[in-house]
């Protein structure tokens, strides 16, 4: 029973981290997976979400308010990044995008240290999320269930948009043939800008939710960014279900890896990424190019 409980607990830890990872990576699935922009500033945008939420909470004390406002602000910054910077260098290729977003991430990280300091910040949760729940004999913090539920809700919404609506069809069409979609009377640059904004807003939302769980600190962008690319690549570029599956796998891999083989646990995800790229370059659930 004891071993079983440990197993269940570990699986739950892995699930929570995996779901948070999906929440952050869902935005990158749109930006990198669908649009093909190597956006290394995604982690920094996620971090900004956490810090904005901290300040909004400090000013108003309303967690739910920050859950709405912070993603909007971060989405706005994402729109700025796309409209005034990335759009101008897109024609020069991946290296330029990579360097530009790297520079942007540097700036955000340094500004965060400047404005909020180097110390980790603690966020007080609303009463309804602060306690813990008793489920089948396991006591677990309510907030972690909240993470899982939000993540699944975001997945459901994205899935419905991209597979069941007309607007969702436009995006992959515009990616595969810009001129044709343009000729059909759709403003493709606007679509890309909006998509980038939504992706950034998702990063901001993930920051609001992830901040209290992983502790808001200036290194949170750098620690998560590689995991995000691993998720998007392993899941398959542009595949939302793939990102969910890959996030789940990586969460559990880290959780059980630390339990059984702590020496090489952190290497597992990179090994997974390398193997997927070599054996199945389109990713677990990606479509063949």
């Amino acid at each position: 029973m004891d071993i079983l409980a440990t197993f269940a607990m570990q699986a739950l830890h892995g699930l929570v981290y995996g779901m948070l990872l999906f929440l952050v990576a869902s935005g990158l699935t749109l930006i990198f997976g669908m649009m093909g922009v190597l956006n290394f500033a995604h982690g920094a945008l996620y971090m900004l979400g956490a810090y904005f939420s901290f300040t909004i909470l400090r000013l108003t004390g309303q967690f739910w308010l920050s859950l709405i406002i912070a993603p909007f602000l971060v989405g706005g910054i994402g729109v700025f990044l796309e409209r005034f910077l990335l759009r101008r260098v897109h024609k020069y290729g991946h290296a330029n995008e990579l360097l530009l977003t790297f520079g942007f991430a540097y700036i955000i990280e340094e500004l965060v240290k400047w404005v909020w300091g180097n110390e980790p910040l603690y966020v007080e949760l609303p009463k309804i999320l602060a306690g813990s729940v008793n489920l089948l004999g396991i006591t677990y913090p309510t907030y972690r269930f909240f993470i899982i539920i939000t993540s699944l809700a975001v997945f459901a919404i994205l899935f419905l948009i991209f597979y069941k609506t007309r607007a969702g069809i436009i995006v992959p069409a515009a990616v595969s043939n810009v001129e044709m979609v343009n000729a059909l009377g759709i403003n493709v640059p606007l679509v890309f800008m909006a998509l980038f904004g939504v992706g950034s807003a998702l990063a901001g939302l993930a920051g609001v939710i992830g901040g209290p769980y992983l502790i808001t600190n200036p290194a949170m962008a750098a620690t998560i960014i590689i995991d995000l690319f691993v998720v998007v690549v392993v899941g398959g570029l542009g595949s939302i279900q793939g990102a969910l599956l890959a996030s789940f796998l990586i969460g559990e891999l880290q959780s059980f890896g630390i339990l059984f083989i702590p020496q090489i646990a952190i290497a597992l995800e990179f090994l997974l990424m390398a193997v997927v790229l070599i054996v199945k370059p389109e990713g677990l659930l990606g479509e063949k190019a």
């Binding site: 093909g36 190597l38 910077l85 101008r88 260098v89 020069y92 290729g93 991946h94 290296a95 330029n96 990579l98 360097l99 530009l100 790297f102 520079g103 942007f104 991430a105 540097y106 700036i107 990280e109 340094e110 500004l111 400047w114 750098a222 590689i226 690319f229 691993v230 690549v233 020496q263 090489i264 952190i266 290497a267 990179f270 090994l271 990424m273 390398a274 790229l277 070599i278 370059p281």
Partner: protein
């Protein structure tokens, strides 16, 4: 004076300048110059892939790092002479290039960048966790041994001696890189960048060629890593981390991958700028970030690209009048 003899005069002047340098500047500046030279070699090795081969690698720090660790381990445990251990660092870089290259050179574009990134992280994690060999986050330290040549003992801790030692190795390697770009394989590298399918159609084995080129690039990165570790008498995981992988891309990009000398210009410029900024302001990464964005926006082909386009415009104006 013809253009060719003008060029030789330029080379001669540069050679005299580099040989005289220790007597012209302070010791602090001399150390900066040594850093510039080593990073010039690192950037050149990177540019064999990036500028000449058209491949965006995001994991070149792995080869730099393994060269550094190999050099430190040999100095520490086997007390090998320095030139040999640095050469061994290069060979380890080449060997790692062979092991990873077998998989990597099949990829193109984003897949190439991401697979090199994954491999880089694997090496990074290995260096961090394999404590018994690498010392983990604490790193490894080993002092530069003196050089024994024909009964002479040269103390490499003397900055001037160390400068000439690094200069000699870097110049040999840079000349080797330059020679490589003019060999048939070096030309093939450009060819594959422009149109790989056609190159294959003519009858070249592009996979084999790319693999050899990848190994050569890893070799020179390993030499640069070995030199850096001996320069600092120390190696840690920061030799392999993501920032290092990004730094070398930035140096090469800033200088411009389109010309042979571009990466050298970029390595010197970025080393100098970083030194300047870190003495000016505590928030230098902020300025650095701004600088990258401005460069990407206004000099998308690097400083050498900027120079060429200004020169072209100037020539056109002269032609008209």
């Amino acid at each position: 004076m013809s253009k060719k003899s003008f060029r030789w005069v330029g080379f001669a002047a540069l050679g005299v300048f580099l040989l005289m340098l220790p007597h012209l500047i302070s010791e602090y500046r001399l150390n900066l110059a040594i850093t510039m030279m080593i990073y010039s070699l690192f950037a050149l090795s990177y540019n064999i892939l990036f500028g000449q081969g058209g491949l965006l690698s995001f994991g070149h720090a792995a080869y730099f790092g393994i060269g550094a660790y190999a050099n430190m381990l040999l100095l520490k445990h086997l007390s090998v002479s320095l030139p040999l251990s640095i050469l061994a660092g290069g060979l380890m870089g080449g060997l790692l290039g062979l092991v990873f290259g077998v998989f990597v050179v099949r990829m193109r574009g984003v897949s190439f960048a991401l697979l090199t990134l994954a491999f880089n992280q694997l090496i990074y994690v290995t260096a961090e966790k394999w404590r018994t060999v690498t010392g983990g986050e604490d790193g490894l330290a080993a002092f530069r041994p003196s050089l024994h040549l024909w009964g002479w003992e040269i103390d490499l801790f003397e900055t001037i001696n160390w400068y000439y030692f690094v200069l000699l190795i870097v110049v040999i390697c840079i000349l080797a890189c330059w020679y490589f770009t003019h060999t048939p394989l070096g030309r093939l590298n450009f060819c594959m960048r422009e149109n790989e399918e056609r190159t294959r159609f003519i009858g070249y084995n592009t996979y084999g060629a790319r693999l050899i080129i990848y190994i050569i690039s890893g070799f020179f990165a390993g030499i640069a890593g070995g030199l850096t570790s001996s320069f600092q008498d120390f190696v840690t995981t920061i030799f392999i981390n993501l920032d290092k992988a990004a730094e070398i891309l930035m140096m090469t990009f800033i200088g411009g991958g389109g010309t042979f000398t571009g990466p050298i210009v970029g390595a010197c410029a970025l080393t100098y700028i970083n030194d300047l900024l870190s003495s000016w302001t505590e928030r230098w990464t902020l300025v650095q970030g701004l600088l990258f964005i401005l460069l990407v926006l206004y000099a998308p082909n690097g400083l050498s690209g900027l120079y060429l386009s200004i020169k072209n415009r100037y020539m056109k104006k002269q032609g008209r009048s």
